[in-house]
Each structure stands twice: as C-alpha cells, then as structure tokens.
C-alpha cells in the first residue's frame, strides 16, 4: 500500500464535499435502492462531511406492541444500522462499500407513538479496512435520546479502500 499522503487532506475534503452533494441530490434514490430501508421508510435529510441526518416517519406497521403503539426496537436498530453504514459513504465517497461487523445499541427510552424519529450518524474514524461509527436517535429535542448506537463496518469495496488510502488517514 502507498504511504498515507499527509498533504492530501484538503483535496480529499473537496472530493468528499462533491460526493456529499451528489449523495444529497440522489438521497431518495439511495434509500429506495435498499429494499429493507424502503420497507422501514426512513429518509435521508441532510449530511455534512462525516455526519448523516435522517428521519423515520411514524407508521402503524412499524409498531412492536399494539397495546402501547410504540415502534419496535428492531425498527430503530435498522434505522441506526443503515444510517451508520451510509455515514461511511461520506468518507469512502461511495455507497454500498461496507458490511456491518458489529453493532451495539442502547435503548434509553421507548419512542413516543405518532412522533417522527430523527437520527444522526457519524463516521468518526476510518482505517484501511474499517469504518468506526456512532449514532443517536431522538424525538423532538436533540437531548431526548431514544437510542444510541456504536457500529464498526468492514470496508468491502476495493475501489473505496484504494481511494481512502490515497486520500490520507489510512492505517
């Protein structure tokens, strides 16, 4: 592997910014291309260099316990897993280049019924083979956290791995 190019930081960032804009322009297409995300129905709202913002509208078929109307834990798991995975794309400049290695979720409180769930996922570190991510899901205020997640993703796509090595920060 070539040594990390320490001066490549800003061109890489420009590349990332271009990719981010392209991702946001095609955000509906990105989520529509993933069948299980389509089933759950969450949407990408926005993104910055490393963080992805999304929303999961409340829908009756996502409820786990009809007596309470609370959305099933698995729905939040799926949203956070997907958001973490997609946040890797912001760094790798390509979607569908990662596979989940592990995922840890803490469920802080049940989600309120009939209220949208917002989420933020950040890819906070990458190596040549792994992306490290964290995410929160919340309702209303950002401090009202429903669940938090930490996930590690294996980089599977060769193209993404090469790009990352060339762009610096690889280890």
């Amino acid at each position: 592997m070539p040594p990390p190019n320490k001066d490549a930081g800003s061109p890489a960032r420009n590349d990332r910014s271009e990719f981010r804009q392209a991702l946001l322009q095609n955000k509906e297409r990105v989520t529509a291309a993933i069948p299980f995300i389509r089933e759950i129905g969450f949407q990408i709202l926005d993104a910055d260099d490393t963080t992805l913002f999304g929303v999961l509208p409340y829908r009756e078929h996502l409820v786990g316990d009809p007596e309470t109307g609370v959305v099933a834990g698995g729905v939040i798991t799926t949203m956070l897993d997907s958001m973490c995975g997609l946040s890797c794309a912001l760094r790798l400049k390509s979607v569908l280049q990662v596979a989940t290695l592990d995922l840890r979720i803490d469920y802080m409180r049940p989600a309120k019924p009939h209220v949208d769930i917002l989420a933020e996922a950040e890819c906070y570190h990458t190596t040549r083979s792994v992306c490290f991510t964290r995410a929160i899901a919340y309702q209303g205020e950002r401090t009202r956290i429903v669940a938090s997640a930490a996930g590690a993703f294996a980089i599977t796509g060769d193209a993404a791995r090469r790009d990352l090595a060339a762009g610096g920060g690889a280890r």
């Binding site: 069948p35 009756e60 996502l62 316990d65 834990g73 698995g74 799926t78 997907s82 995922l103 840890r104």
Partner: protein, 156 residues
Amino acid sequence: MSAGPDAGPAEGSDERPRDLPHDRAAALLGVIARSPFAQLMGLQIKIAGDEILATLPFDEKLIGNHVIRALHGGAIASFLELTATARVHLAADQPRQPKIIDITVDYLRQGKAENLYATARIVKLGRRMASVHAEAWQQERAKPVSVLTAHFLIGG
C-alpha cells in the same frame, strides 16, 4: 388446546396451574401474531418446551445490498432481537412484554438471500433483568451468520 382464563389461580395465589408453560407459549404466539412489526418481518416461531426456533422466511424486502444479494444487517439484528424477546417472554412469568435495554450484534458471515433461523437461550434470569444470547444461521447450524447478546428489563 389451551386452558381458558378460568383455569388460572386467583390473583395473588401462590398456586401455579400445571399447564402454565403451555399457556405462556400460547400467549407468546398471540403477542407475535398481534405485533405489526413481527408480521412485517414475516417472523415464525416454534416453541418446544422452553426452547424456541424462529424462522425468517426469505423475502426480497429483507435485502440490504442488492449488488451482492445480502440480507440487511438491520433485518438480521431485528430478527435476533425478536427471537431473544420471545425467549424472555417465555421464561419470565410476566404479563407485560419484556423491555429491551441494550443489544450487541456480531456479524460473522454475510446473510444470503435464503431463510434465516435463530434460537435464543437465557444466560441469566434475575428478578428484574435477563441476559440473553441468540444465534442466527442459514444452511449450517455450525456456521452462524450473526450472534446477539441482549439485556431485558422484565416486569417493569
């Protein structure tokens, strides 16, 4: 099949009807049948005594990566989570559904576009908490696709 509600002991009684586990199994199957998300996933559960075998029949909607035809990590985690929840529900003598505290999922192999099976065992059942381990596999039981560790609050 199942005893009616009259067969149960009066509230507060220490007596347990002999067929309580069977009743609990029936109650659990009812909970799953009424859960919209379990139905969306297509979850199937078989109960044999205190063992559970869960099946997630393959469906296109469970795909997470259409290029490599892999199941969605969230679908696998949700399936394991439902299996673990069902197992706790079966073990805990509580009318309310156990509440999930946290989960840790290890993805060991790619979930292929085929049926996924899972079972769960209770590692520790306390008065308020339960620790559960669940495992999912496809064609070979000895080659797990994913494993999950979860904690639940029971009777809360």
